[in-house]
Subunit: 190 residues, 2 copies
């Protein structure tokens, strides 16, 4: 559909030139349509941003589940590892997704209404999912008894986000970030 085509164009701009370059005119050019058409399908820019954010969410969850599936049978560890490595910007697709996502994340800092209108509980859901898997692994004896699942899940997710920022900032590449994450995962899971 036209809406999707335009929304994807915005995401493409957000992951290359940055979300602040995603003006109505730029989005129209990127999508190969006229400015009028963008306005026709999205009455306001906020509407367009919200739609694009929804598309991004779809792609993100699709990537996470694909990454979990790629790690073989679903064990607590494979779920945790698959989730975190899917988020880490290691290949082209994850770099694109992470770039676009952080663009929206920082945008919400200056336009809090956008976040409210979206219900951005995405990180919280991920975190509780991870905590449940760690708790399950702990019951199965794959995680040391002294580990607090909630604290550890939060730490792993924050670590992954921080590593992602450092990769996007050019401080290290995806492989190095992956090594750091794997090292920490190896300290959580026995």
């Amino acid at each position: 559909m036209r809406r999707r085509q335009i929304g994807e164009a915005l995401l493409r701009i957000a992951s290359t030139r940055g979300l602040q370059s995603a003006t109505m005119r730029e989005v129209a050019a990127e999508a190969g349509v006229s400015l009028r058409l963008v306005q026709y399908y999205f009455r306001t820019k906020e509407e367009l941003l919200l739609a694009a954010l929804a598309y991004l969410g779809e792609q993100l969850t699709a990537r996470v589940s694909a990454s979990i599936r790629a790690l073989g049978p679903a064990t607590p560890r494979s779920i945790v590892e698959g989730t975190l490595t899917a988020i880490l910007p290691t290949d082209d697709e994850s770099v694109r997704l992470t770039r676009a996502y952080t663009g929206f994340y920082t945008l919400v800092f200056s336009e809090p209404e956008l976040g409210e209108r979206h219900g951005a509980t995405y990180p919280d859901k991920l975190e509780s999912l991870l905590a449940r898997q760690i708790a399950a692994a702990q019951e199965a004896g794959e995680v040391a008894a002294g580990v607090d699942p909630a604290l550890t899940a939060a730490a792993l997710l924050a670590l992954t986000n921080g590593l992602g920022s450092s990769v996007l900032g050019g401080q290290r590449d995806g492989a190095a970030a992956r090594r750091i994450l794997d090292d920490q995962l190896g300290r959580v899971f026995l």
Copy 2:
């Protein structure tokens, strides 16, 4: 001096309304001077941003050393802990600094020239400092032998940055972030 007064005004805006609201006119109003005066002391906006970034760096390093000093005698662990907790947005000052810093950090994503003109090796310096302290603690037997100082330093710093983002994003408060960080520190240091 006038330059400092104006630069601090920009930082104040960056830490409250966000860096993208720091227009020349807003900075002038915040500093209580005319637009012309801002232009007089900073010929271009980039010059102003660079100067403000330098001021921010000063404040950041000052806070880090104060936080290390506050933890008593300088041991490897107190240095690591002081550095990381100084960065974490737990009180008003650190929230201000972190907000402003992430503002600049994300700005560099869209204007890479700004980062080049500043030599933003700040995170790398912090990371190697932490790695040295962890290695020293390891030699003193305060850190398990199986720990890789470089990987662990990177992980702790990325964790702290990720926690900072989550605090700024309203996902948790500074105290909760502090608990997560302390938990991880307790797993590194015996």
